[in-house]
Amino acid sequence: MPKLQLPAALRRPAKPGSNGQVDGKAPEDLRETPAARPEPKVTDQAVEAGKDVVGWVDQRTGLSGFLTGMLYRKVPKGTNWFYTLGSATLFAFVVQAITGVFLAMYYTPSPTQAYGSVTHLTNDVFLGEFVRGMHKWGASVMIILLFLHMGRTFFFGAYKYPRELNWVIGVVLLILTFVMGLTGYLLPFDQRSFWATVVANNITATGPVVGPYLADFLRAGAEFGPTTLTRFYAIHMLLVPGAIIALIGAHLYLVVKLGTTAPPWLKAQRPGSTRPVEAVVAGANGASPNGDRSRT
């Protein structure tokens, strides 16, 4: 099995105080005597050139620190398959974004031509129905994964200190995903789309005082008109995806910075001790293991 040849910039950094040794071995390119260095073969030279490119970019951007920090960070013991739901949701969103871009190349957002353009896409374009199906069912899959991820976070208590802000961002993302579902649903402009949108719009209108104006704003007028569809299209394609991408960035930043939680039923142990940390720490503080509530 050939040895994994990562460029120097992406290799796992050495532990502090180990003199640049990773896994107990000194780095290859720092060997002292020239004789110890083997004669370069063609394949080796190609690999070296590849490593040089990464090194070139790294020297000019300084990215390796960020990348190695993100890739090689420790996740707590006990991280199980439940923790994949978040990245699965992100991946479903990426699928939606990519299929959405290709659908947008064929779609016409005009009330008279929308239905025809979707018919053309479904029937005449190569793989048109398939891509449209991926986008349609991908939306349902994304919502299911999102709810599963939210449930996992709730039951693991992963929204508590210090991750409150992450939860708030997550709920906003949930709301934005529902808005995507609502606005995107109108675009095929068939009977189901049209009436579901009419009802959703009128639901907005039932809010006191501002409701009627909000409904007018969404609908671009008092009745469903020529610019209603284009407005929904702009919201679905530009406004909300931009907000979602920005918030996902913030969400991921917090995940990397704060770390993912360990499953709540696992207790940590001090090295060399068999007692769980709780008891050890509490014993040291002279307080009961679950904290003294009356002290709040």
């Binding site: 402009f189 009627p212 007018d216 007028g221 008092a222 610019t227």
Partner: protein, 192 residues
């Protein structure tokens, strides 16, 4: 008053101005449709002999121009009935837009009622609510006779006593204090 302070305030002021110069027109652009009002549309639907006071006749009119099929709607029209205290030379045009959330209602001849398929709303012959969640009677359209043809005009809403008010979206209560909680919008025409 140091140099630094003057520059700080100036930066904030100019930055605010530049930001406003970009954002305000954009917001105005997005919000403008709330304040635009289209001219009233009157559409002929047939000679007066086509309509009776006992039963409704469905007619299709265009309420928004320029978007083809999506701009049309169905209206149920009948002559005014003396028994119900209406002007026998006038016409009543009832909208098919349910006053609960806007689903299309249909008139059931056997019962003399309008029923809505979405959440089970039921209206009587005049359009008043007799069952289900709708919050006010069905909207109506203005009518007139011109050149020997019955014409349908802009939409208006009614209170539970069938008094006309400016057109409201489905789900909004009308009459009394509700006129302030659900204010009329500039984009709708005045009621008759």
């Amino acid at each position: 008053m140091t140099r630094r302070r003057v520059f700080t305030v100036a930066v904030q002021g100019l930055g605010g101005l530049a930001g406003a110069a970009i954002v305000l027109p954009a917001v105005g652009f997005a919000v403008a449709p709330i304040f635009e009002r289209e001219d009233d549309r009157w559409e002929p639907i047939g000679p007066p002999d086509d309509f009776t006071a006992e039963a409704y006749k469905a007619a299709v009119i265009t309420i928004v121009d320029g978007i083809g099929e999506a701009g049309k709607t169905t209206v149920y029209v009948r002559k005014g009935s003396e028994e119900l205290g209406e002007d026998p030379d006038g016409y009543i045009a009832i909208s098919t837009r349910c006053a609960h959330l806007g689903c299309p209602v249909r008139f059931v001849e056997a019962a003399g009622n309008f029923i809505c398929p979405c959440h089970g709303g039921v209206y009587d012959f005049e359009g008043k609510v007799i069952g289900g969640p709708p919050v006010r009677p069905l909207d109506r359209f203005q009518t007139r006779v011109r050149g020997g043809k019955v014409e349908i005009g802009p939409r208006y809403s009614v209170t539970s006593q069938l008094e006309p008010v400016r057109s409201r979206d489905p789900g909004e209560f009308t009459g009394g204090i509700w006129e302030y909680l659900y204010p009329p919008r500039p984009s709708t025409p005045s009621p008759p």
